[in-house]
């Protein structure tokens, strides 16, 4: 196997002996640093900008004055959708006090995700989670100009809690909104230096509801992932 590796590297080096100069020259033709954001800056509040962009994607933004208002909004969304079972991040990871009480009060069962490694247990656990009508996660950042939700994996942060159910609710604080993708990546790396993936296997950007235009270029939402996306921003 390491033979195959050495042979491939050998072939690449042989090729590069001829073209490395051309490629290196192209590499120097422009800076590599990502711009912090790409749309012209205007002074709209970033949370407002996020909300405007999210609504353009047929998703819902809720700007709440404080934590209590956010709790009420969450109860309303779940109540209106008639949710009985919700997958969520673990409570410490969510850091949204009152969630357990609120869910109990409106008759929503909350499930943590814990997938076992064996094939049979994995399939059984997935089957048990699949009927959930909602999933709820926190966020690691919101990107205003593209209306993107940024979520890191890790302990207590199942990937399925932003993926499996038809309704997805992300809960964010106002100070988590940044303007652009470049900024968001720089901030994540700084926070988790030196190695963003030391303790997690995933970083996910979510921009609006699951969608497809595969049939006659006609937009259809919720093909595999959530169809209804709500972002609650408070504080």
């Amino acid at each position: 196997m390491s033979d195959a590796r050495e042979a491939m590297l050998g072939r690449i080096r042989q090729g590069l002996a001829r073209n490395r100069e051309f490629l290196a020259h192209e590499a120097l033709a422009a800076p590599h640093a990502p711009p912090p954001f790409v749309h012209p800056e205007h002074d709209a509040d970033l949370a407002d900008l996020f909300a405007t962009e999210l609504r353009k994607l047929a998703a819902h933004a809720h700007l709440c004055a404080d934590h209590d208002a956010a709790r009420a909004t969450l109860r309303d969304i779940l109540g209106a959708a008639g949710v009985h079972l919700a997958l969520t991040w673990a409570l410490p990871a969510l850091a949204f006090p009152g969630l357990d009480d609120d869910l109990a009060a409106i008759g929503v069962e909350r499930r943590d995700v814990a997938i076992a490694p064996t094939a049979a247990e994995r399939a059984a656990e997935l089957r048990a989670l699949e009927p959930a009508a909602a999933c709820i996660s926190g966020v690691d950042a919101l990107i205003a100009e593209s209306a993107t939700i940024v979520v890191l994996g890790g302990a207590g942060r199942p990937r399925l809690a932003s993926l499996l159910a038809p309704l997805y609710i992300a809960i964010a604080r106002r100070d988590q909104v940044v303007r652009g993708l470049g900024q968001a990546i720089a901030q994540l790396q700084q926070r988790a230096a030196p190695d963003l993936f030391a303790e997690r296997s995933s970083l996910t950007f979510i921009t609006g509801p699951s969608r497809t235009a595969d049939i006659e270029m006609t937009l259809a939402l919720g093909v595999h992932g959530p169809r209804d996306v709500h972002v609650i921003i408070y504080g």
Partner: protein, 475 residues
């Protein structure tokens, strides 16, 4: 349907005769082009972003040996496994063996051009595994037993009625051509596959060396499910699809989404680094990265190395007047459109007529202006044509015609007489200024495109007259 076994000209003929294909292609490519233009208009300085994207990709390729070593070492340090596949055969064997030793039954796949390129599904099915494509378009194509016709929209050539019939036959859907109903039907059927699948196979948009991660970009969520639900994730990546740092994604993802579909970012970007960690609640327990060479290490040392900068956005397809008329299948290979006309002869040289693909271009330059990494596609197509001529891979008629041309160019008299005859002849044949038919063997040209009549007076004549007039003006 083995499109590859049919001659290129016949594939083109079929496409040009297919009215519903023409309508679908026109509609879809128009939409892509408009969406892209709208998205670009919002960006402060898109050309600056393109320049950065090109530099980032060129930099990664210039150090490809080093970049791949870094990427593979990081992934192994995180508990992932890396397989260096010299060709499609090696990659197929590794994945089939892996599926066997892990007692896999069902495999779900999200879109991967690299695995199409090496016919991975055929190998897995031959080994008796159930393989399910989960991207809606790819799933439809799989049910129909066809191959994708567009990088971004694989079933762009199918009408809703055709798809409805497929779903009625295969999934027991009641008769309807309501698109939301069809989408829901597919979702339900595919959900069951995700829950029971043992292995998920995905493509890779970018490998990020210093992060030890692969990036998978999509809109549906099927790639997230493919890389999360099954206990084994296999990512198949062409070795050129790399960048050095996570920051590079701040440029590349923006270019990709805007160029491909006009979105600011695609709906889902999954950046995945090895198997799940011990305390993570979900994700695969095994992670395998296949580094697929399959001819790429030859390209990087050749005259077409620049083609490896491609980020597979599909913008050049949508911009191309030839692609708009003939669609992806006519190109015969996995990669279609202008970039496919370059990549297919290099990556799938075994296919029939591949040397003719560079002819499927009017060299109008629309592809290069659309390309987010500014690949000089028309220039490369021209050079590929010259290569084909130099290698003697041309038709007899073309060779005779070119020999005649060469004679005429060397004899002014012959040239003038020939020009006169052509001018007279073509004007006799023209209807409303276009020629739809030329006598054999020239009908090879007019069979698929019109030919303009020669100007009634040649440039030489006009020039001589102009000189005479200038002289007559005195002074």
């Amino acid at each position: 349907m083995a499109t590859q076994s049919i001659a290129f000209h016949d594939r083109v003929d079929r496409a040009l005769d297919n009215r519903s294909l023409q309508t679908a292609l026109g509609r879809a490519t128009d939409r892509f082009v408009t969406n892209r233009a709208n998205a670009l208009a919002l960006v402060d300085d898109f050309d600056d972003l393109r320049a950065r994207g090109r530099a980032i990709r060129a930099s990664a390729l210039a150090q490809l040996d080093d970049v791949l070593v870094r990427l593979s070492e990081r992934i192994e340090a995180r508990g992932g496994q890396v397989f260096w596949a010299a060709d499609g055969n090696a990659a197929r064997r590794y994945i089939v063996d892996l599926a066997r030793t892990r007692a896999v039954r069902t495999i779900v796949k999200s879109k991967s051009m690299a695995s199409e390129e090496i016919h991975l599904n055929d190998a897995l099915e031959a080994a008796a595994f159930t393989v399910v494509e989960t991207d809606l378009g790819e799933y439809i194509i799989q049910l129909a037993g066809e191959t994708p016709s567009h990088i971004i929209a694989p079933c762009i050539h199918k009408t809703r009625e055709e798809i409805s019939t497929l779903f009625q036959d295969h999934l027991g859907m009641p008769a309807t051509d309501d698109i939301p109903t069809m989408t829901r039907t597919a979702r339900g059927a595919l959900r069951q596959q995700f829950l029971q699948a043992d292995m998920g196979i995905s493509g890779v948009n970018f490998g990020v060396a210093d992060a030890g991660a692969v990036v998978v970009v999509e809109n549906e969520g099927n790639a997230r499910l493919t890389t999360t639900a099954p206990r084994i994730h296999v990512a198949v990546m062409g070795i050129e699809r790399v960048c050095e740092r996570l920051e590079d994604l701040g440029v590349l993802l923006q270019l990709l989404a805007r160029s491909a579909t006009g979105q600011k970012l695609s709906v889902y970007t999954s950046i995945l680094s090895g198997p799940r960690r011990a305390d993570e609640p979900d994700g695969p327990d095994e992670f395998h990265l296949i580094l697929l060479d399959n001819g790429r290490s030859q390209i990087i040392g050749g005259d077409y190395a620049e083609a490896l900068l491609c980020i597979r956005c599909g913008a050049c397809l949508n911009a191309c007047p030839v692609y708009q008329s003939i669609g992806g299948h006519a190109y015969g290979g996995v990669y279609s459109g202008p970039i496919g006309a370059i990549l297919t002869p290099l990556l799938q040289p075994e296919l029939r007529d591949v040397h003719k693909l560079p002819q499927a271009s009017s060299l109008c330059g629309a592809c290069q202006s659309a390309c987010p990494v500014k690949i000089a596609i028309p220039d490369m197509l021209l050079r590929l044509r010259a290569d084909a001529v130099a290698a003697g891979r041309t038709d007899a008629i073309e060779r005779i015609a070119m020999a005649g041309w060469s004679q005429a160019m060397r004899s002014p008299t012959l040239y003038r007489v020939g020009g006169k005859l052509a001018s007279l002849g073509t004007r006799l044949l023209a209807r409303e200024g276009r020629i739809g038919w030329l006598p054999p063997p020239l009908d090879q040209w007019t069979h698929q495109r019109d030919f303009p009549p020669f100007a009634p007076r040649s440039f030489t004549e006009l020039w001589a007259e102009r000189q005479r007039r200038a002289a007559g003006d005195g002074r």
